[in-house]
């Protein structure tokens, strides 16, 4: 029994790198969704481009200034996407906005591949690299940094949405732009602020992750897929949920493969996570609600 617990504990700790990465991505997704009701499918790309920027700038201006500049560029990228793509498509439909972010994703990935090539490049090291032995495996300071930043971000967003005026304004503007405008809140600014924040944290996450695993124009952005699963498990609406979801996803990916013959099947963790996600969605949804009545043509 004790053995089992100890093994489980070890496995949980070893899953931290995955958890940290997914949590940071998921948080950014949730912030943007909560404050602008847009599903940002370009999130992975918004996270990766700053990592490349840091990589290019670091030899010139040193790693720390490069990282700072790169994180800012991530925020700027988020604002640009919001301003020129998402905002313009708001009048068309939500579907169009989602597809718009898809287009940004594809374009950015192709661009990064063309400019920096598709070899795995070493990311900029933000945290001094140290290895720790846990059980029979190794875990690194980069991974802890990821988790720490994710936790900080989660706390920060929680505080933001619950405790600050800006957070309140964001939530209001997301639910009803017109009403918010009537109350003196500028929905455009809150939306931009949300995307700025989302982009900043995405960039930070991408840089940290690249430091841990290297820069690749396809692999890195596609980490957003498990992050979406994490965000959904947590409800798409809550920062704490995003972290919780990342926990579940990281654990599943890390631990399921060692659970016997079923676990060793290719894609077993993904199947388990999918079933879990669908179960949660079925339980959470309900009959048609009065709140589903949209403002129509009036």
């Amino acid at each position: 029994m004790f053995d089992f617990l100890r093994d489980a504990g070890i496995n949980i700790i070893l899953a931290l790198p995955l958890i940290g990465a997914y949590a940071l991505f998921a948080l950014g997704i949730v912030v943007i969704y909560r404050a602008s009701r847009v599903l940002n499918l370009a999130h992975g790309a918004i996270a990766t481009l700053p990592a490349y920027v840091a990589y290019s700038l670091a030899p010139r201006i040193g790693p720390l200034p490069a990282v700072i500049a790169a994180v800012i560029s991530g925020g700027a990228f988020g604002v640009i996407v919001e301003r020129f793509v998402v905002r313009r498509l708001r009048a068309v439909s939500q579907t169009a906005q989602t597809v718009g972010t898809v287009a940004v994703f594809g374009l950015t990935v192709a661009f990064m591949g063309k400019v920096w090539g598709t070899s795995l490049l070493p990311g900029v090291e933000v945290v001094p690299h140290r290895a720790f032995r846990v059980g029979h495996a190794l875990i690194f300071s980069d991974d802890f940094a990821l988790v720490a930043v994710a936790a900080l971000a989660a706390g920060g967003f929680f505080a933001l949405f619950r405790l600050t005026n800006l957070g309140l304004a964001m939530r209001l503007a997301a639910d009803n732009r017109r009403a918010a405008a009537l109350m003196g809140i500028d929905p455009e600014r809150t939306t931009s602020a949300a995307w700025l924040l989302g982009g900043l944290f995405a960039g930070l996450g991408g840089i940290l992750l690249a430091g841990a695993t290297g820069l690749h124009p396809y692999i890195l952005p596609l980490q957003m897929l498990p992050a979406f699963v994490a965000a959904l498990l947590g409800g798409l609406d809550s920062a704490a949920g995003a972290v919780g979801g990342a926990l579940v996803v990281g654990l599943a990916v890390g631990i399921v493969p060692s659970l016997g013959t079923f676990g060793r099947q290719v894609g077993a963790p993904q199947l388990v996570l999918t079933l879990l996600a669908f179960l949660i969605m079925r339980l959470r949804g309900g009959k048609l609600q009065a709140s589903d009545v949209r403002a129509g043509l009036a």
Binding site: F84, G106, G267, Q270, A277, L288, G296
Partner: protein, 662 residues
């Protein structure tokens, strides 16, 4: 213009003769010619075989895009997993051959059924979620399919790819035999598949099922209130879309001879979505053209060395460009071109001295254009001012003798700690017009929603036409005979006025989706009957001039009328009206009152309405209920209510309120 003396030029003669054929025949002729050309061109012209290969690819892309039009364009369920369904169709085809030795085309039904089944499974999840949650659900599904389903050797086969052996239909060397490896022959197969998909989708769109799809997209609440089982239609949409995508996958593996999992990953789903968007998400012809465009791009990038390798960048730019600059996509271009073409043709004919085409340009039924505005101006702006006929106010006989249409007993609705409705009972009797009034926040709408099924009451019972409807969903109550209008207009924006009303004939049309796809005589007959019924209501409410206009852009008063008309079209004997006069001025409100009375007198409908305008309500209703702060304050005839001190106090806000229960 002296027609007798002028000899028509031969070209123009053909043109006018052509124009003189009835439009239906003309269209059929064009279709026939076009199809013939489409099939025959690889043999007639010296087309290089790679171009034929592109045409095959274009057909496959077009077919997947058609499935997306159905699901995402019409029903509004965004799908990021379409490539997964294509893959299921492809691998199932190979699996069927591996296990049972059954090849093309006999493996088609099972392959298509499996992709449809998987899509329905995804749809089951979609039922519970809305909007962007659904997008994430499809994303997760695509991810799972990538990682699990298409990596499983029992499904894909060993060796990491699935293959189909040589396929020859018929006897080899004998007659007739078709070698499917000749691109020109397989092109006919692929084109047939595409034509089949378009045919089915097109038939669906103009049928009851299609209207239900648009209704579910436009407003699920309103759709349910018309008796549509929203659940069923969403599942149906997923199923049909999955089937069409599976058909594309089946064709793909038969044509390619093999399939690898990488071809059906998440990025591929995004690619298919791009094709659909570039084509204009609602338009069948648009996405077919878009499919051809993307297949053609591949060929261009192959032939032109300088462009080689830039296709990812270019398609990304293309997609973004279409989204930002021209959201209606190729379909929009087509609609604009058609309008310009029509006006050019008219000008041309006029210049030549001929009158314009007698048929003229009927105001476009903009079923396909998302952004198109209408050709031709409409002179008359219909409003409620013109509708009412002479009022005949009928005072009902003794109330208690009439049958009960609606009985709500001790309804309590609690939201967390807040009690929105507290033990309210009301009864509506046959032929009555009953009003429900109260100050803002009194709980009127919550009570309304509890009665119509949108909210579940914490306690209490609802009986409709004698049946216990407490547990019933909105559409089940509609089947009992309840119609409804909404405070915020819930018309279906994708449909014009006529089709909005036609959607309301849902319950009286008993044909099913299969009959719609195949267009049986019975479904055509039912369609005709429904259209006639709608025309009657249109005439009655004088909506004829706006009948073929899109709903958006119409004046508010007209929209209110249309919503009312829609409730009437259902033929429901009991209609609930949620603030029907809100947004109308005094004159319009008066006319509305007269209209309601007329409708009750002529059609015998029973009405229950929420209203703020106390004067209007007292003028039109037979019985009233007043609620305040969730409790029933008073009930009685309008005269009794007008004299009731507690009611007066509640409206004027005096501190001492004595609650009276009638």
């Amino acid at each position: 213009m002296n027609q007798a003396l002028r000899r028509p030029s031969p070209v123009l003669g053909i043109a006018t003769r052509f124009a003189a054929i009835t439009p239906r025949t003309r269209r059929s002729l064009l279709v026939f010619i076009a199809l013939g050309l489409a099939v025959a061109w690889p043999w007639i012209l010296p087309i290089p075989l790679p171009i034929v290969g592109d045409a095959i690819r274009a057909s496959e892309y077009g077919l997947v895009a058609v499935s997306l039009v159905l699901l995402t364009g019409w029903v509004g369920q965004i799908s990021l997993a379409q490539a997964s369904f294509v893959g299921v169709g492809a691998f199932m085809t190979a699996l069927i051959f591996r296990k049972f030795g059954v090849g093309f085309p006999y493996s088609l039904p099972l392959a298509v059924a499996s992709s449809a089944g998987l899509a329905v499974l995804l749809g089951l999840v979609a039922l519970r979620v809305r909007g962007l949650y659904l997008a994430v659900a499809t994303l997760i599904f695509a991810w799972m399919a990538d990682q699990f389903l298409f990596s499983a050797t029992w499904f894909v086969g060993l060796g990491g790819s699935a293959s189909l052996p040589t396929n020859v239909i018929g006897r080899d060397g004998g007659f007739p035999s078709f070698d499917l490896h000749d691109p020109r022959i397989f092109y006919v197969v692929a084109l047939s598949g595409l034509a089949l998909g378009i045919y089915c989708a097109s038939n669906l769109r103009d049928s009851k099922t299609g209207r239900a799809f648009f209704a579910v997209r436009g407003s699920e609440i309103a759709a349910a209130s018309l008796g549509m089982d929203v659940t069923r239609y969403k599942l149906l949409a997923f199923g049909i879309s999955g089937a069409v995508a599976g058909l594309a996958g089946h064709l793909q593996i038969v044509g390619d001879g093999s399939a690898v999992p990488d071809e059906f990953n998440f990025l591929r789903s995004l690619f298919f979505l791009s094709i659909a968007v570039v084509g204009g998400l609602n338009s069948l012809p648009g996405v077919v053209v878009a499919g051809a465009l993307f297949a053609g791009l591949d060929e261009v990038f192959f032939r032109v060395p300088a462009l080689n390798g830039f296709i990812d960048l270019v398609s990304g730019v293309l997609l973004l460009g279409v989204l930002l600059v021209y959201p209606s996509g190729i379909a929009g271009i087509g609609a604009t071109a058609r309008r310009h073409g029509a006006s050019v043709a008219r000008l041309f004919l006029r210049w030549k001295g001929r009158p314009g085409d007698g048929q003229g340009e009927a105001p476009q039924r903009s079923l396909t254009a998302v952004h198109g505005d209408d050709a031709g101006a409409l002179a008359v702006q219909t409003s409620l001012l013109d509708i009412a006929e002479s009022p005949a106010i009928v005072r009902p006989a003794d109330r208690m003798e009439r049958a009960e249409v609606l009985t709500a007993e001790h309804i309590t609705v609690r939201f967390g700690g807040l009690v929105a409705v507290d033990d309210v009972s009301l009864t509506v009797r046959e032929g009555e017009i009953v009003g429900l009034i109260g100050p803002n926040g009194a709980g009127k709408t919550t009570l309304f929603n509890a009665i119509s099924g949108l909210n579940d009451p914490t306690s209490g019972k609802v009986h409709i036409f004698g049946q216990d409807a407490t547990g019933m969903s909105v559409h089940e109550r509609a089947r009992l005979g309840v119609g409804r209008t909404f405070q915020l207009i819930q018309l279906f924006p994708q449909l014009n006025v006529f089709d909005n009303l036609l959607a309301a004939t849902h319950l009286s049309n008993s044909t099913g989706f299969l009959q719609h796809i195949v267009v049986t005589e019975r479904s055509l007959a039912a369609e005709r009957a429904c259209r006639e019924h709608v025309m009657e209501i249109i005439d009655r409410l004088k909506l004829g001039d706006v009948a073929h206009r899109t709903v958006s852009g119409l004046p508010f008063g007209v929209l209110r009328t249309v919503e009312l008309a829609r409730a009437l079209v259902t033929g429901a004997p009991f209609v609930m009206l949620d603030e029907p006069a809100s947004g109308l001025d005094n004159a319009e409100t008066e006319k509305l009152a007269e209209l309601l009375l007329t409708l009750r007198a002529d059609l015998g409908v029973t009405l229950l309405l929420i209203e703020h305008d106390v004067a209007m309500v007292t003028g039109v209703t037979d019985y009233m209920y007043v609620v305040n702060r969730g409790r029933l304050l008073a009930e009685g005839t309008p005269q009794e209510i007008q004299r009731n001190e507690a009611v007066i106090a509640a409206y004027l806000g005096q501190p001492s309120v004595v609650e009276v229960t009638a």
